[in-house]
């Protein structure tokens, strides 16, 4: 019985500590909504990384494969259409769409760990490039959709 209570107390303490920590971190994400600084890590990509070419640039299948990967790994935070959510910024913003494919690949590989974006180097390199193909295919949001979003 003592063991059972100890296990329950440990679980409760763990849950409280980690959830409150996660919520605290998230509040800083809200702060960055609509703030260009959220994309600053794209600019931090070294020249060599930025200059890398996407080996799937001319492969239409890569966009479809990238879309599958996006739905499985990214849409939870960035939204199904890449427009962003409370958890992560839009990938259809100018900063992303104008960025070099190599810079997007670099951010995917390294994550932005202190701001909640995980490292995605666990996906093999070709899959990360397929994701870049899909992200680039999203394009900028149409003016109509921007009008709908404005208050």
């Amino acid at each position: 019985m003592k063991e059972y209570i100890a296990a329950l107390s440990a679980a409760a303490a763990l849950l409280t500590a980690s959830v409150s920590f996660a919520q605290q971190e998230k509040s800083s994400h809200y702060k960055y909504q609509g703030d260009a600084r959220v994309y600053a890590d794209l600019a931090k990509a070294p020249e060599k990384a930025r200059g890398k070419r996407n080996p799937f640039e001319n492969y239409p299948d890569a966009i479809a494969a990238g879309q599958n990967l996006f739905e499985q790994h990214c849409s939870e935070c960035h939204g199904k259409t890449g427009d962003g959510s409370k958890k992560a910024p839009s990938l259809r913003a100018e900063e992303v769409q104008d960025a070099a494919p190599g810079a997007i690949f670099w951010v995917l590989t390294n994550g932005v760990v202190r701001r909640g974006m995980p490292v995605w180097s666990k996906l093999p390199e070709p899959q990360r490039w397929q994701l870049v193909s899909f992200i680039k295919s999203l394009g900028l949001p149409s003016p109509n959709s921007l009008d709908k979003k404005s208050p």
């Binding site: 980690s18 971190e25 070709p126």
Partner: protein, 296 residues
């Protein structure tokens, strides 16, 4: 007094509803069961895992040890995990053997050639623990010969520290873990290791969603064992295992793992068959926050 199964029912229902009703995400899970790599749980996600180990025992009854893990990504650099464990020794009994609380912290912001992760764990278990989640010190197969009724009388409070080093290169993951464990009842520090290498069966994703595509499988091999203790460091009187393993990441969000471990010396169990099933639940922290009236 309600029966044990009745007492467990609310917990089981919660677990089932969490597992089946909540949205799942597909992780790219490694096949390792003992070795850790540097990839942490995605922030806010909860991964519920069940593992099972069947082991052969020389001169005694074979056993089936099992544990559940609740792995939560508190942040992108901190993963915390809670374990509940038990075992069945054939022709003896089935018992609860204890719990663990583990934390993994990634100290570096970016990806490097070698990526360190710091690991801290507290274990409260009894002497009948047989999950072999790690092998340390002079752990040998003969330790498992003690009947459950006797072994469970020993209460063990242990802290365990690990340095996890992991690299990913051209689709390969190489992981090296060194561990130091201390039983808080005046026992010496014990040491152990785990090594792992893995590679997905395909590097490119296919344009169509599929269950049996090679990209959904990751194959690998692990080697783990003890390195003695503070007074007698080395390989003498230690056990070691080599275990090929495979993970199948299903598009539905489930991951299946299978590993067959072979003992490398007479101090080891001859054979350990391990399997695991897990599912990652997205947005767990928001769900809990909503329940307690937090911000939407």
């Amino acid at each position: 007094m309600p029966s044990a199964s009745a007492r467990c029912l609310p917990g089981i229902l919660l677990l089932v509803s969490l597992t089946f009703v909540t949205p799942a995400v597909r992780g790219q899970e490694s096949p390792y069961i003992v070795t850790y790599n540097h990839y942490l749980e995605e922030p806010g996600n909860l991964e519920i895992e069940y593992f099972s180990t069947f082991g052969t025992q020389r001169g005694g009854n074979n056993f089936h040890a099992f544990w559940s893990e609740f792995e939560y990504g508190a942040t992108a650099w901190w993963t915390t995990e809670f374990y509940l464990e038990g075992q069945t020794t054939f022709n003896e009994s089935t018992i609860f053997t204890g719990y663990r609380w583990e934390n993994r912290i990634r100290p570096l912001k970016m990806e490097h050639f070698v990526n360190p992760v710091l690991y801290f764990e507290y274990e409260s278990k009894n002497g009948a623990d047989k999950i072999l989640k790690e092998v340390e010190g002079h752990d040998v197969q003969a330790d498992f010969l003690l009947p459950n009724a006797e072994a469970r009388k020993e209460h063990i409070h242990e802290v365990e520290l690990k340095l996890i080093l992991s690299s990913t290169l051209k689709g390969w993951n190489f992981s090296e873990n060194v561990l130091a464990a201390k039983n808080l009842s005046n026992h010496p520090w014990e040491f152990g290791y785990a090594l792992g290498a893995s590679h997905p069966l395909a590097m490119k994703a296919s344009a169509t969603r599929c269950t049996l595509c090679p990209q959904n499988f990751v194959a690998g091999v692990e080697m783990y064992g003890g390195l003695g203790d503070r007074h007698s460091f080395g390989l003498k009187d230690t056990s070691h295992y080599l275990a090929p393993a495979i993970a199948w990441n299903l598009p539905s969000g489930w991951t299946l793992r299978l590993s067959s471990g072979f003992g490398l010396n007479d101090n080891s169990h001859r054979f350990l068959l391990r399997c695991g099933i897990s599912r990652e639940i997205s947005g767990f922290s928001e769900m809990v926050s909503r329940i307690f009236g937090g911000r939407r």
